[in-house]
Symmetry: D2
């Protein structure tokens, strides 16, 4: 088995490597290929990965390369964890957005739109490489905005794809801790889009615990975790929303908070990454350093490795992933990418029937799905008109005219070439 990591210079890669090493034998991993376009990062991160591998007795071969074809050819799994433009672009997108009194939010907000516009062409180019040299491979995409990336690949990529996010697994882990069980014992009726997911019902070892979880959350500081919305609203909702919902539910408050911050998250991450890369460069370091936790992305490795294992071993486990809707959520388009519970085995990821969205969340999810569709169309066609429609459909853009000013800035600064 050959696993390829695209964007392997990411500081997350040692986290992933740790997971691969743990399951090397079980999954019969033979080769891991690390690919990046950034030579310095590839050398530093790749060096650490090599040392981690050696420290475990080299269960498989590790190759680091700047040549994409070699990295992809014949792969069984291609993991994409790229960031086109790097943290600097993220920083710029945030600053531009705040400059027009809008939250940037690099996944679900205007900054996420800019990121998608930069990234979709790159992902689709990777897809053409996969079609040519590894047509049976699974593309496992972690690149944000993960829902839009999955939609783009489903509609235009022509490869086997599953979009993955660590968020839903984090929700399972939290509940698992609360009930003192493993995360595989927690079953969520999860429905929505990436970073726009809602848990309708919860079972622990087959027993429904929905009301218990909702009450515990209400009790804990009278809010749902990390989202300081009013407790009455949380109760009305009668579902557990993804933490990212705070940008929509508390848009006004979040905008104030973000404008008041001295640094953008991108700037913080740049600092963290420099520290991490310095650590990684230490030839004595042979394992994932504890500082990596600050970087975020908890459970990223677990999510990725467990997913690969289900696919490889025909396991049939449930995973919450981004896949084609195909009727699972009855009031979203049949071909849309949705984030739902799916059974994953040798066939891929088959979603479970969920029915209609509760009215309480239906409108928001449908609105964001329309925005996502338009964004993919804009990126694929290079149409300025489509891009303007897309950005105007984002719920965080409170004015078409301001949205247009922001779009013009994105277009010029990132040379998107929209016309």
């Amino acid at each position: 088995m050959k696993i390829t990591v695209i964007g392997a210079g990411s500081t997350y890669t040692p986290e992933l490597m740790e997971g691969l090493l743990q399951r090397a034998e079980q999954m019969q991993i033979k080769e891991v290929w690390l690919y990046d376009i950034n030579q310095r990062r590839l050398e530093i991160v790749g060096g650490l990965i090599q040392r981690m591998n050696q420290a475990q007795g080299e269960p498989f071969a590790v190759h680091a390369t700047l040549e994409r074809r070699a990295a992809i050819a014949g792969a069984d799994f291609v993991l994409t964890q790229i960031r086109v433009g790097g943290q600097q672009a993220r920083h710029d997108d945030t600053i531009f957005s705040l400059g027009h009194d809008m939250i940037g939010q690099e996944t679900t907000g205007p900054a996420g739109f800019a990121k998608a516009m930069r990234t979709i062409p790159v992902i689709l180019d990777i897809c053409s490489e996969i079609r040519a040299s590894a047509p049976n491979a699974w593309l496992l995409n972690f690149t944000n905005p993960a829902g839009i990336m999955t939609e783009a690949v489903l509609r235009h990529g022509g490869v086997n794809v599953i979009g993955l996010c660590n968020g839903p697994l984090g929700m399972q882990m939290n509940i698992a801790q609360q009930y003192g069980v493993g995360h595989r014992d927690v079953d969520l009726d999860y429905m929505g889009l990436n970073h726009l997911g809602f848990v309708r019902r919860i079972w622990v070892k087959g027993e429904e615990v929905t009301q218990g979880v909702l009450e515990t959350m209400a009790a804990k500081a009278a809010n749902i975790p990390d989202l300081e919305v009013d407790a009455a609203f949380a109760q009305s909702l009668n579902m557990i929303p993804s933490g990212y919902l705070r940008y929509f539910f508390l848009e006004a408050e979040m905008l104030k908070v973000l404008k008041a911050k001295p640094k953008t998250r991108a700037q913080e991450v740049m600092a963290i990454e420099e520290t991490l890369l310095r650590k990684y460069a230490d030839p004595d370091l042979k394992e994932k350093p504890p500082e990596l936790e600050k970087r975020g992305g908890a459970y990223y490795s677990t999510a990725a490795v467990e997913l690969m294992q289900s696919l490889h071993s025909n396991g049939g486990e449930k995973h919450i992933v981004n896949v084609r809707n195909q009727g699972t959520i009855t009031d979203l388009p049949y071909d849309a990418a949705v984030e739902v519970t799916a059974i994953v085995d040798g066939r891929g990821a088959q979603p479970l029937a969920l029915g209609p969205l509760p009215t309480a969340i239906r409108g928001l999810v449908q609105q964001v799905k329309a925005y996502e569709e338009l964004t993919v169309e804009a990126a694929v066609t290079g149409s300025y008109a489509k891009a303007l429609l897309a950005l105007s459909n984002n719920p965080l853009v409170p004015s078409v005219n301001r949205g247009k000013l922001l779009l013009d800035q994105f277009n010029e600064h990132h040379q998107l070439g929209l016309r």
Copy 2:
């Protein structure tokens, strides 16, 4: 034929009367009943209506009454044009909304939500009267928010209902003027919800003129009429939106404008109405005074009377009205109220198949429809939780927590009794 006007004390009533007089014979009108709960207004407006009738040789009998049952019993048409709480409530709703940095907007905004919550119980009570004493009558509803009212009656009223707005007719009239034809020669592919409608294509006497209309509009001050959105966006949209869309497309700008106004629209209307009522009280006045035009509501009478005539005469004309969706717009719920073109004849209003909403507007229309559904549910159940969900789903509410503060104000001030 008996026509009943509920809320006949409205200053609009003379406008309506003018239309009825013009078609009295054609429509075989026998009786017009004027009902209101406000005695002073009923006397003043009713007096003018009586004099208008006499001046035309009394083609039918006019009755003014404070007794609802007598007014409704045996009616063929019941027109509802009520305003629960009057302009004062409208003013309060606007001020409350602005106080939380939100546009009030008494039809599509938070103020419209408050108005709906006050009005739905009254409309449903009128429906129970119609079921009891005029079960074959057509309820023609003009009361705003007209889309929500129609949805409430369709789901809970148990009577024949068509919701009507003068807006779409205004769009037809504008285009008719531009092309020098009658408004019946202008055919619109109109789809959406009340005050959230979009014209996809336009025909004049069977010839498509869509691009011509779009270009003329773009040329005229580089914008679509009354909506100073960027011309590039208008072109991207490739549809003509209802003027009310400005509140969603230019939310941020409109909020500034409204906060800067010295008076609310309600206060302006109160002044206009006092002037009008003084005029109406003049025993020498025997016709609609020209000052009524300032009140707005152009074409209201034309819309109402032409609709009644199509129903009465089995005419089969096209009207843009609020009716049950029943598959006409394929990505809105089957039972939702939508504003679309329908064929109106003795059977009622049967909508024409339209297919899916263009992606450019799909999300917004779906979001607002979810808000409308939740609002009806909140009003019918008296549930605080549903009301909070409803208001939070309104696109003009940028924060659930602020929405809750506003809801509490509405609940207390208007004694909505939500729990």
Copy 3:
């Protein structure tokens, strides 16, 4: 205005001509082109048409030609009334079907399947001519099986098309007679497919008369006209079915009747046509002879001419026609051809929303629609496998294996070239 008749050698053409002459001025007809591949018939029928035109003072020019391009170029309306293989093929199809103990039925049965397989390629070839030389023309198709032809053109023809049948108009005419009104005063809630239509409700001048019509029909010989099904079933159905439904509702009985007939309908028609053609050839005949009535096809001319006039004059009248479903019947595919009431004006034919099929007829209509879809696919691809699936899906085929024997006969005899 130029009208082109494809298959003008049909003995029906004088019927059509009569209608055109009546409306020549109103519709501003300038040219009528008659095209056929059969020179003898074209000369005979064309001769009569010319004489009919002259007798009325030549309101328009009549051209008869064997050159298709000349006939079609620049046409406003192209009427197709062709019969590929002629009555002989019809006769053969019937005999083959009866030979395997199946009803042939040249529209909805196995013989209709064979006719569709022969005709679809010809119709699509005519479409390519229209695209090339009369791209704005309306193709009005009368060729049977009319529903399948419309489906083929909608999916593969790329031209404006409306499928037309005289059957629904006949139902309106019957009810109009019963109530002493004109057929335009009869409004039918008509839903289904061609020769598989059902009337759910009936209005005469805006008053519902459904129960009255059902009862009159039940009373008249305790059956629905021409369909000697049990009265209890007719009542259970609570709808008026097209007369062709007898082949499905009384399959066993009809098979016996047809097997017992000494001649096929095709043979009868051949005899009638020879008589008619002899009549037509008489240089003194200048009008439609009364014998034409025996040929069937009542109201064919009325249906065609009224439809052209609605399209031409932007009339907005209701017509029951074959058009793309587009959500009108919610449990049939969006792109399927259906036979429903549509508003016809300069834009074309826009169907009215009907909702779901009553459960009583849902299964049969869905079954036949699947058969129709498969038939179009078989004809377009030339696939034997698809053809076998199509024929096996026809409700009149009681065994896949017998269906295959029949298919092989069709394939060989008509040189369908299926592989």
Copy 4:
């Protein structure tokens, strides 16, 4: 854990008991209650079950009773395997059907209709008992026609229900044998209705083997097993149909075969059952006798016990069962019972998204589903009109009038009380 068997006097019960004994410990079975209305059968079969239990060291308590309430109260699982009217009614239904030249077929044919009409009231009465005295129990229904029973319970029963058939498991077992694997290693894309199921794709241990299975089947006597349809059709279908499809695909041939048989299947079964009951009555018999195999129903015990175990242990295994559609098959009604692959755990059975039916089978499945819906409606309302519509919608009824004669016979003979 308490398991209740309704209709425990069935000769199948020892088969079921064998499975329960094998998993007694694993499933923590405490009590098994046997209920029947036939005292003789209950004594004989119950006696054998008791001896089987004792021979295995009495892992749980066995109770045999004629009192339904005692049997059901507090049960965790209620298995229904009843036959209202017994084999005699089955025999009569078959003879009546053949008398009108129709296949009876006690599951999918007219005899199945009669059986459903007799059985639905009894099943719904059992449901009311479950609601009253074991509201959390799972009703596992084996009673035929299993799809119609499930639809009836889903719509009118108000209890947790899963419909089960041994057929799909049999298909898995066959393929498992062919590939030398366990049946849990065979994964089927199974879609349709009970006894009207189709396998679209097949995986063995995660590898797709669809074409291999299809070819093996074609090779084996150039037919699909047990269904002597033409090999070309089997290939065209490109799916593996349930064996019961022969009644639809080869209706004409099967009718001949059945009419030629000297005895009905019911008569054969009566003889087998008498032999079995004599065996069962032998006080020395302490295990399932080998003669039981002749009775049919292979894998019945495996299907039942594995399903109970998945529910009990929160296992999450795939089972092919009858459940509410809820969007799984997009062109069947949302609330219809369908037979599909579902994940079964403590929550119940959640179906996997399948999308649209292939056109090749869509019409037939939709037709039969309409028949099933109408049958449930007829049984619940006691309406003669609905019953006539239902029976006329069955594809094996070639004439409404003959169907009516048959219905009248059923109604009188079984005292169905239809009006």
